[in-house]
């Protein structure tokens, strides 16, 4: 490994530490936000999931190096996102597709 590569990885290490601190902070914020009465429980759910998405971005983007990956990986993940979104879409659609006389709550 060249001295330049060594320097490059050393810079990344500093970035990993910042991400780590952000993840710790994000966890505490998630717990704290769950105790705040926003008036509607749906808002609590949205806030918790929003913070979780932010944390997931940090882990995937920096620890898994997705912010600087090859096109091949992005292409593969595009398929995953498409099918995952389809799965969630079908899940939501299922709420409007109960058999007749079904009692919902």
């Amino acid at each position: 490994m060249t001295a330049q590569d060594h320097q490059h990885v050393a810079e990344h290490v500093r970035r990993y530490l910042y991400v780590f601190y952000a993840l710790l902070f994000g966890t505490l914020i998630t717990v704290g936000a769950s105790y705040i009465p926003f008036g509607n429980h749906a808002i609590n759910i949205a806030v918790a999931l929003f913070i979780a998405c932010g944390k997931a971005f940090l882990v995937a983007g920096f620890f898994m190096h997705l912010i600087s990956e090859r096109k091949m990986i992005y292409g593969l993940l595009a398929f995953t996102v498409f099918f995952f979104a389809g799965l969630m879409f079908l899940t939501v659609c299922s709420f409007a597709d109960f058999p007749r006389m079904t009692v919902t709550h």
Partner: protein, 260 residues
């Protein structure tokens, strides 16, 4: 025979083969956990009003476990960076930390499971429900002893975030002759616990599987460093990608199961 592209990237993909392999595997894992999250949504939205549990899990314990897993993620990435910087000693230290943190996570999860498996709901013949942790359950004894409370309506057991839920916890002795049904808080108890144990159990299996691979690379597998350090570093990167994915899943599991 040499396996091609374990170190050098392929011309067409620009990546070494194991990296493409792990990302394909992780894509399938996203769909696996996605299906279970989908099941969770369906079960939660379809549950009867007032019958979806709240406050059944210990938030401080879950928070500590989240911090443990996040810390293991940084030690994993630092182990890989140490290999990249030719610092094998540091790699060993960081991955030893990862293994200890993985063990800590599994121990904490086991404690939580134990808490659930010693928690009973006992329906009495007079219609009352006794709920609490078992203190004595000798099959030869004429009574069962729990530390808990009586409720008239099962719905009182579901929302533990209301202050009254934590009142009147005491040691209760119940004669076996009065017991209609007695069931512990296992995955069969209700749909919440079924999906809780399925999601966290599958996740825990991933933690154990990842720890075994990391343990191999830390122990006997580390001999490769002496003969082919670049290939070894790539192996560390691949195991790290899996470990970060496990962390990623927990980042969503924690708020979904513990907080909302």
């Amino acid at each position: 025979m040499d396996i091609p592209y374990t170190v050098q990237p392929r011309e067409d993909t620009g990546l070494y083969n194991a990296k493409v392999g792990i990302w394909l595997f992780l894509a399938s894992e996203v769909m696996l956990f996605g299906a279970l999250f989908s099941s969770y949504i369906l079960l939660r939205v379809g549950s009867l009003e007032g019958y979806w549990p709240r406050g059944w899990l210990n938030v401080p314990v879950g928070t500590v476990n989240t911090l443990v897993l996040i810390t293991s993620s940084i030690t994993t990435v630092m182990a890989w960076a140490s290999c990249k910087m030719n610092q094998f000693g540091r790699f060993k230290v960081f991955h030893a930390c990862t293994l200890l943190l993985a063990l800590t996570f599994v121990c904490i999860k086991s404690y939580e499971y134990h808490d659930k498996f010693t928690h009973y709901e006992i329906i009495l013949k007079d219609g009352r429900i006794a709920d609490g942790h078992i203190v004595a359950n000798d099959p030869k004894a004429e009574s069962v002893v729990i530390s808990g409370r009586y409720v008239q309506d099962r719905r009182d057991l579901y929302d533990l975030e209301v202050p009254k839920a934590h009142h009147h916890h005491e040691e209760i002795s119940i004669p076996r002759s009065q017991i209609e049904k007695m069931e512990r808080y296992g995955p069969w108890h209700n749909t919440y616990l079924a999906i809780y144990f399925t999601l966290t159990g599958l996740h825990a299996l991933h933690v154990i599987g990842g720890a075994i691979v990391i343990g191999f690379l830390w122990g006997p597998g580390s001999k490769l460093w002496e003969t082919d350090p670049e290939r070894f570093t790539n192996r560390v990167e691949i195991s790290g990608l899996f470990w970060h994915f496990v962390d990623l899943v927990w980042i969503f599991l924690f708020p979904v199961l513990y907080l909302i």
